[in-house]
């Protein structure tokens, strides 16, 4: 899994682009990397783009839930992009699609 960060021009929005499998071997990095980036308190909006991730398991879903909890507790607006295929099916099975906001560009 690769995690890339992109800032918008005003520095208030952050895009987190996830590529590759997000699974039991690496999902904990997703949480720590994202929250590490957010800990400075600069961003008001975060977009997590999963379009480059073909596979996610419960560890990946758990990382997303923990990011959701983290951002909510700090009033950061969290939105998701590119939830498709198997990743979407896993998130639907895990019953968390109802508590996330999707940004359909």
């Amino acid at each position: 899994m690769e995690i890339q960060f992109f800032e918008d021009a005003d520095g208030k929005s952050l895009v987190v682009k996830v590529s590759g499998d997000c699974d039991l071997y690496n999902a904990h990095h997703l949480f720590s990397d994202v929250t590490g980036r957010l800990s400075g308190g600069v961003y008001s909006v975060v977009y997590v783009d999963l379009s480059g991730s073909p596979y996610m398991d419960s560890s990946g879903v758990g990382a997303l839930i923990r990011i959701l909890q983290y951002t909510k507790s700090r009033s950061i607006n969290l939105k998701f992009r590119g939830i498709e295929g198997t990743v979407r099916k896993v998130m639907r099975l895990s019953n968390i699609l109802s508590i996330i906001t999707e940004d359909r560009q």
Binding site: S58, G62, A63, I65
Partner: protein
């Protein structure tokens, strides 16, 4: 009209899902780093239409992970036994050598509260309950594997009395989870 759906993990030693007659058998050492590899080996001969992209491998890996990590405590000297049948539907029996899933009833209670929060549109509580954290959960545990499993294994998910053996089956009507 909105319905509340509360599923449960059940214990039934004599359930037909534990009938291994005619099933293939493999056993693996409890090597955490090879979990997805084990799933791939088991599913080598699986008909394409049952794979559902990577969904079947993902769900099978979750059960194998539970057996290796939570059951056998990653002790490579302990075996994980897998019976499987990939004809017409997919069925697995997976047994570890651990002490069993002692938190099964606590997990059922967690899941009931989670579903009630969703039913009541209490999204703050639902988010708090989105993932299960047991006494042995760590950063590698997502806490949602059993939630998804109860949905995915649509023909049943049953534990034996010792709670170290689980039987699951997924039936297909139109070939894929939509």
């Amino acid at each position: 009209m909105k319905n509340i759906i509360i599923r449960k993990l059940i214990v039934d030693e004599n359930n037909e899902l534990f009938d291994a007659q005619g099933m293939k058998y493999l056993e693996f050492e409890s090597n955490f780093s090879r979990i997805r590899e084990y799933s791939a080996v088991i599913l080598e001969s699986c008909p394409q239409q049952f794979l559902e992209g990577g969904l079947l491998e993902q769900q099978l890996s979750e059960i194998i992970k539970n057996g290796i990590k939570h059951g056998n405590q990653n002790d490579v000297s302990k075996k994980l036994k897998v019976w499987y049948d990939l004809r017409n539907r997919v069925r697995f029996i997976i047994e570890d050598e651990g002490r069993g899933f002692a938190q099964l009833e606590a997990w059922n209670d967690f899941y009931r509260r989670r579903q009630e929060a969703l039913y009541n549109n209490d999204f703050d509580l639902f988010l708090q309950l989105a993932a299960y954290r047991g006494p042995h959960s760590d950063q590698f545990d997502g806490g949602s594997s059993l939630i998804a499993a109860l949905e995915f294994w649509n023909g049943g998910m049953v534990y034996n009395e010792a709670k170290n053996k689980v039987g699951v089956v997924r039936w297909f009507s139109n070939g894929s989870y939509q």
